[in-house]
Amino acid sequence: MSKFQQINFYQSKSAAYKLLPFRFARLDGDKYFLSNMVGEYLILNRNSLDKAVNHKLNSLDQTYIDLRARQFIQDESNSVAFDLLAIKTRTKFSRLSNFTSLHIFVVSLRCEHSCPYCQVSRQSEDKGKFDMTEKIADRAIDFVFKSPSQVIKIEFQGGEPLLNYPLIQYVVEQAKKINITECRNLDFVIATNLALITPQILSFCLQHGIHISTSLDGPEDLHNTNRPRKEKNSYQKAIKGIELARDILGRDRVSALMTTTEASLGRGGEIVDEYIRMGFNGIFLRALSPYGFAIKTKSFAAYQTDKWLEFYRSAMEYIIQLNKDGIAFQEYGSSIILAKMLSARDPGYVDLMNPSGMGIAAIVYNYDGSVHPSDESRMLAEMGDNTFLMGNVLKDSYEDVFSSNSFLDPLEASMTTSVPMCEECAFEPYCGSDPVYHYAMHQDFIARKPDSGFCQKNMGIFKYLVEKMESDPYVKRLFRSWANLK
């Protein structure tokens, strides 16, 4: 007779487990995607899902073990599940009490480019009319240091911000002076097309630790189509500027962002190749902006989302193959989502936050002192709609601005846990809400999700990432590294 009990002896009594809160969504075929309130996920078939909900799982089943390990069910052996869920929930929302780390200063609305999709630039040479003054900047700096966030990033935007370079110098010097007593983690970025960059400006950047964020839309013809200049040399200026900035500041202080236009669709591989040629380690495949043509023709939106998802998936396939071939390269938008899927960390990306990141993650001080909760709401205001206008630094206090109804009403509406369809969506832990987008497209902060291009786009990305991870072990390892989980 064996000294040991049979394995059945250690088995939990049937149905001796409790369900913990979770949601599910149907994927293709018989597969279901399950997620719990902190974003742990699992893929099951319908039969296993039914058995789990009906307490029919045996404690030795692999499904049982997986569900218990991820806190979907609780039995006597994992009483800690409750505490783990509470701690992870608190971790995910801990950023809320330390709000607004990104402060965008629109130092000039003037620009020497004439990009057709841009709603905010002015060709005017009238400095007095479209440049931020020192008086406005002083008030905006006061607002910056009233934010509870310990981490503060001031980003200079335009138009082309270098057209008002003296004000950038002024803001940097004033903010650093105040920070001697504030002791925040203070950082600066200039978002510039680099056409006006000089070694003198870059020396100032080096001296003050300022980062450069520029635009690179892809190969020369695409970049120049997207960003017209009289001299037809936007691309050459950008490339020369990137090289000069890297020489003076170092590679890590220079980054690039792409704007996707209709002309970009179908050219994902070429765009990625351009980033690799320029020595970048990754790219952010940004979606088309609804501010412009699409906003006037609503029916265009869904069509555009389909086309963009096709572009995204094709570029992602290309990037995955590059990695398989030994070229390390990542897609930053996916990395943000993967960090949310594969860890309790929330990178705090404005478009994927619940409640919305508007005003909480970022705030915009326009050249005229008006305060907006996001860059997109500033664009909306430039198109004549002040729905999201929070106030003006010249006449309103910080408290007035952050308690304005034009800020709090959409923010309250943006809680995905109470939005129809979002509240039961299995992808909700990774998603967010964008009241400005939905207002622009549907005149409603929430909108019906089946009609929402935002929902359609995010669901498309989430499902793609999950399916890739589940079907290819190499991709799972790659995605874990993108999420900073080795």
Partner: protein
Amino acid sequence: MAVEKVVFGRDVYGLQEIKKAAYRFIDKFSIDIELSDSKIECSLNFLKSDQSDAFWVDEFKKEVLDQDLRQRIKLETEPVRNLILAHAFSKSRLIDK
């Protein structure tokens, strides 16, 4: 406009689950719901679609089944969900402030 009728037993499915399922297809069809003692009769009024009406009727039925399962999970886990949330924020500065 094409109309498809779908009938559910009242002792099998709840009205809320059917409404929730219908909401998910709001871009595909509008719905009229009529109740009798034992049945819930749904008339699906189809808008223009790239798939056949039969496809969406089938998807709607599957979604009602999913909603029924969701409701069962919700009923069983709602108290513990509220408790976890209360526990999560009880010592956080979010509430203290």
